[in-house]
Amino acid sequence: MDALLDVRDLAVHYRTAAGPVRAVDGASFTVPAAGIVGLVGESGCGKSTLGRALMGVLPRSASIAAGQAVFEGRDLVTLSPAERRKLLWRRLAFVPQTAMNALDPVQRLAAQMQEVLVERGGLSRAAAGARAVELFAMVGLDAGRLRDWPHQFSGGMRQRASIALALALNPALLIADEPVTALDVIVQRQILDVMRDLQSRLGLAMILVTHDVAVVAYACDRVVVMYAGRVVESGPVRAVLEAPLHPYTMGLMNAFPDLERAGGELVPIEGAPPSLLNPPTGCRFAARCPFAVARCEKDPALLEQAPDHHVACWRAAEAPALRPLASEAATWSR
């Protein structure tokens, strides 16, 4: 497969007084040249850190400890800051979470558009103005709103503006970090529709970081499931969500209340993710997994269990038999 981005054994560590926190600890996945890849996992699983590591904007206390991330043939990890700057926003752009103040509060949207288009895109001021109007139209915003300040926008509009900014220079890959988390369902759906629509019209690749399996199911073509700093399962959305191979993915699917599935008890995953300060050896999920066996004390490798469907579980081959068990609450409550 011809991958636009190939992440191999990437590790990101936070330095703390108590020792390194392994936020991302050997993550591997690929992103094809077009389509939306969902990066899904619970809070603290390392998915947001991973997105920031790819953009090269980790906080001071964090650093990439190992691995590589090959984007368009070049390793983002070893790239010099100057080389990376050339790629940023032109080839690789970012859409932040709405709740964060990702837009400069004391600059009008037009100025923030201009800045990117003129300084990074090399457009003339006039051309930049026209392009800004075009971009706003693409995400469904009125051109008149370019003159507004960020705080005058509602959450959904701010997110549309962020997407317009991200698409300004026609990037090849867009990383969106929880782009709809802080939004209400209706606005959430509208934003996801905008993203899907733009992806298919512009034919670019997107990584959609989210904690919500339903968002992945609605918007993504591929999915990468992360748990405690590692990728536990990845593949096409249909394969992974309809026939999950990893017990954690099975658990996630059953833990959701479903609008159309009636009553019955929800199936919780007991326990909590392990501390990433001193993560347990072996499979990270073993402590919460109802199907754990002696073998799970050793690390399972991320292997291609079915065509294009990778999983890191010793019992992946037994998945069809485990799936029905995983949908019963009794299995998980021990």
Partner: protein, 325 residues
């Protein structure tokens, strides 16, 4: 517009309250304030005359109304000792204080902002380890003592700068402006302004550093880095502009409080400003002059407090521009 009107009304209320407080303060303090302020050498008759000429023989509420009325007309009374209108004395001193305060503040904030921004990027370095305690020490030192040190060193020991006054005694000028721009005045200004600036720079420095550090952690700065913008653009266009909001407010506040806070520096350098007028009036029991000086200093303070608020609102669109649907 509405904010503007509201803020002016608020300032007017505070001014009225301060004026009333001042009135009561000078009249209701324990002991007879008139005694306090009248020299022992006055005869009983002279005292009665004086009381009458200053309206002090009338009942308190009436005095209060007269007081407020003349205050509104800008009439602050006549000095006991100098026998001149208080306002004239104050207006003569005002340019000196203004020159000193503004010069010192501009130096202090120019230096403090640049050094503070620089220090925000020097986290964990030796420079920071020295600069922060040094800034704290200048904040902890009494202004007059800093002045004494500079005086004894640069004026008495090395004889570079004059030790007192704003002009060489007996110099004549065609106009007040000519005096303020004369080389002689500026030469006299350097030492007191430097002392005041040394004392004042700690605040903008520490404030700029702190807000800068806070802003640099903001998501929109991380976004600017992701956009591949140059370091200069990130720092100047995004970080500094946001970090300067509270510093600009502090400048206005500093202007207000320095007008009255210069008292000690003006004393050390015998600088003929408002603070010096106040101190000598209080010491010399010249109560109309003391009261007038106090009210003028308070008025500047209240005014600048208001300016600070309005400035902040004006600079920050989140405050000045309402949300739109």
């Amino acid at each position: 517009m509405k904010r503007f009107a509201g803020r002016i009304a608020h300032a007017a209320f505070v001014l009225w309250a301060v004026a009333t407080l001042t009135f009561l303060l000078f009249r209701l303090m324990p002991g007879d304030p008139t005694l306090n302020f009248l020299s022992d050498s006055f005869s009983e008759e002279m005292r009665a005359d004086l009381l009458e000429s200053f309206g002090l023989d009338k009942p308190l509420p009436e005095q209060y109304l007269i007081y407020l009325g003349s205050l509104l007309q800008g009439d602050l009374g006549v000095s006991f000792l100098q026998k001149r209108p208080v306002l004239d004395i104050l207006l003569a001193a005002l340019p000196n204080t203004a020159a000193l305060t503004i010069t010192a503040l501009v130096i202090a904030y120019a230096f403090g902002i640049i050094a503070g921004a620089f220090l925000a990027f020097a986290r964990g370095t030796v420079t920071e380890g020295i600069a922060i305690p040094a800034a704290l020490i200048t904040r902890a030192a009494p202004e007059f003592w800093l002045g004494m040190l500079l005086l004894s060193w640069l004026s008495f020991a090395w004889g570079i700068f004059p030790s007192a006054g704003a002009n060489v005694a007996g110099s004549e000028f065609t106009s007040e402006w000519a005096r303020l721009t004369s080389a002689d005045f500026l030469w006299h200004l350097i030492l007191p302004a430097l002392t005041l600036a040394l004392y004042l720079q700690g605040l903008p420095l520490l404030l700029m550093r702190a807000t800068m550090l806070e802003v640099l952690n903001d998501e929109f700065i991380v976004m600017a880095r992701m956009k591949g913008l140059s370091r200069w653009a990130i720092v100047m266009r995004h970080a500094a502009r946001n970090a300067l909001l509270p510093v600009a407010t502090a400048f206005a506040l500093g202007l207000g409080s320095s007008f009255g806070g210069n008292v000690v520096i003006e004393t050390v350098f015998s600088w003929p400003g408002l603070g010096r007028v106040l101190v000598s009036a209080v010491q010399g029991a010249d109560y109309p002059l003391a009261q007038g000086a106090f009210i003028m200093i308070a008025a500047v303070l209240v005014l600048m407090n208001m300016v600070a608020d309005l400035l902040y609102a004006w600079l920050d669109p989140r405050v000045s521009v309402g949300a739109r649907r």
